[in-house]
């Protein structure tokens, strides 16, 4: 290491002050150039997802043709044909409506119960302990395991299905909502109470929108649980052969060894799942948490 230079040499370089007129920004040209069409298409999310799905369908079709055993694995085109046929003759639509009806009852009842539970839980200390314990007990319990009990209590039919769906929705939504409520910033709570908000108005006007990101996450999980549980429960029994749901459609097809029909049923389950997730929930998300900057 060289010795430090003498102090004299380490003085900052002296230079004159200056003031200047501002440069006219009129010369600044902001060019907004659209991306070339191929880049726009490749980067489009819908196009990307569509390409992935088309690729999978193609692989399926090729492998099934190579295997040439329609009992084990029908081709993709055969499955689609069966699917369209059963849609056209109304059988599949009928099954789907039955399933969705049970789902709507169960899901909305589950949400309503969760709303009541969590409202009580945030306003009283005892309620909070109760909800936490109940959630810890019942959340890990698979809803389908309650089906035998539901059959004893409510018999074969929609009430049993609604019961198990409520069970699968209630705890997931309650847990998320409670976590959401608890993570609302103290300042926001105080500014709500400052206005004299209390009780149910406090929950509805302040806590629910403030915790909406967490609530929506809970609703998504709850929906997936409910849909799964419903199809599984319907596999166990059809209410009657005329009014069974999608699960029953799949089960029937299996006993008739119509593998293409089994696949068509599964296809319908997946399509509905995709629709709810990527259309309905996406729409709600875009209108709420994304717009409010609560989620990126």
């Amino acid at each position: 290491m060289t010795a430090l230079a003498p102090l004299e040499a380490r003085r900052p370089v002296e230079r004159p002050d200056f003031e200047s007129e501002l440069v006219d920004p009129a010369g600044l040209v902001v060019v907004e150039r659209p991306l070339p069409w191929y880049e726009r298409i490749v980067k489009n999310e819908a196009v990307q997802n569509g390409a992935i799905l088309a690729g999978l369908a193609l692989l399926w079709e090729l492998y099934a043709r190579f295997l040439d055993n329609p009992l084990l694995l029908p081709t993709f085109s055969e499955m689609v044909a069966t699917f369209l046929r059963d849609i056209a003759n109304g059988l599949l639509l009928n099954r789907i409506t039955t399933s969705l009806k049970s789902l709507a009852y169960g899901y909305s009842a589950g949400l309503a119960l969760a709303a009541i539970f969590t409202s009580v839980a945030v306003s009283t200390r005892l309620g909070s302990g109760l909800l936490t314990t109940l959630t810890a007990m019942f959340n890990p319990l698979p809803a389908i395991a309650l089906l035998p009990l539901a059959l004893i209590w409510f018999g074969l039919g929609t009430p049993s299905l609604v019961f198990v769906i409520i069970h699968s929705v209630l705890w997931a939504v309650s847990l998320n909502t409670l976590v959401g409520f608890r993570s609302v910033p103290e300042t926001l709570r105080m500014s709500g109470r400052n206005l004299g908000l209390r009780g149910i108005r406090y929950v509805a006007l302040l806590l629910i929108p403030a915790a909406f990101a967490a609530i929506l996450a809970g609703m998504k999980i709850g929906w997936a649980f409910a849909w799964r549980t419903l199809i599984a429960a319907e596999l166990v029994f059809g209410v009657s052969s005329r009014s069974g749901g999608l699960g029953w459609y799949i089960f029937e097809a299996r006993s008739e060894l119509e593998t293409a029909k089994v696949f068509a049923g599964l296809f319908a389950v997946i399509l509905i799942g995709l629709f709810v997730e990527s259309v309905i929930f996406k729409f709600i998300e875009r209108r709420t948490v994304l717009r409010w900057g609560m989620q990126r």
Binding site: T187, N194, L195, G293
Partner: protein, 259 residues
């Protein structure tokens, strides 16, 4: 002398942490008169924010009482609108316009067209008309603070409570906000109770300054400071009052250090 608008008499506030019982303020008394810009000044730990929260009705004093317009303060209410230091006080799911409108709707103090007219007027007064339909997450810190002040002002509270409202802002924005608050006060002559730990801010913003000593917070002095603003920050008098407050706040520390 007339009766004070806000009368704080002999207020002791304690709160519990898991390990300790902390006495935040001890027998604090003061009075705020209409159109005062009353500043509570003190170092951290003098319980000034706690005192403000008690006036807001969020805490209950263990001793003494707080009266507003001769009514005892027991719970939070829209007659004492609070403006917080944090930016989280605005509702992220409402636009600027809706945020200002919301308190009027829930309290029912102003309704219908009257409420909307008030919102437009106050939003214009804080220069946010262009950003009326924007959500809070797209605003800068200073703009959020202006919305918070507008929201509180629009409701015409008896007293405006401000808890170190500018502490989280950068120095330039902070100065601008102080000027705007003073300009707004010049127009509307509202009563404000303002908490800060900055001596300079207290002198500039305040017309009366209550100096608190720390651990626990006790009243050290009350000083008039109506004559000072940004224009005379470098004047002799400003320096003198600033030194005087500094002495009041810190002389005990020096004595303790000597002893």
């Amino acid at each position: 002398m007339a009766k004070p608008l806000l009368d704080v008499s002999g207020v002791t506030i304690q709160y519990k942490t898991p390990q300790h019982l902390v006495t935040a303020t001890y027998k604090v008394s003061f009075g705020v008169y209409p159109s005062d810009r009353y500043v509570i000044l003190g170092p951290s730990g003098c319980g000034k924010s706690t005192l403000l929260k008690a006036v807001g009705g969020f805490l209950e004093p263990v001793e003494g009482e707080i009266r507003l317009r001769d009514r005892k303060v027991t719970a939070p209410g829209p007659d004492r609108m609070m403006v917080f230091q944090e930016f989280e006080q605005l509702m992220p799911w409402k636009t600027v316009y809706q945020n200002v409108l919301f308190p009027m709707q829930v309290t029912g103090k102003f309704r219908g067209k009257d409420a909307h007219d008030r919102v437009n007027a106050i939003v214009e007064k804080v220069n946010l008309t262009r950003f009326k339909d924007v959500y809070p997450h797209m605003l800068s810190g200073g703009m959020k603070m202006r919305v918070a002040i507008a929201r509180a002002m629009a409701l015409e509270p008896d007293i405006l409570l401000m808890d170190e409202p500018f502490a989280a802002l950068d120095a330039l924005t902070r100065r601008k906000m102080q000027q705007e608050l003073l300009a707004l006060w010049d127009q509307l002559r509202f009563t404000v109770l303002f908490v800060t730990h900055s001596i300079e801010e207290a002198i500039i913003v305040g017309s009366r300054i209550l100096v608190l000593s720390p651990h626990p917070g006790r009243v050290r002095a009350e000083i008039g400071a109506d004559a000072f603003s940004h224009e005379n920050v470098d004047g002799v008098e400003f320096g003198a009052i600033s030194k005087r407050i500094h002495r009041l706040l810190f002389e005990h520390e020096v004595e303790e250090a000597r002893a």
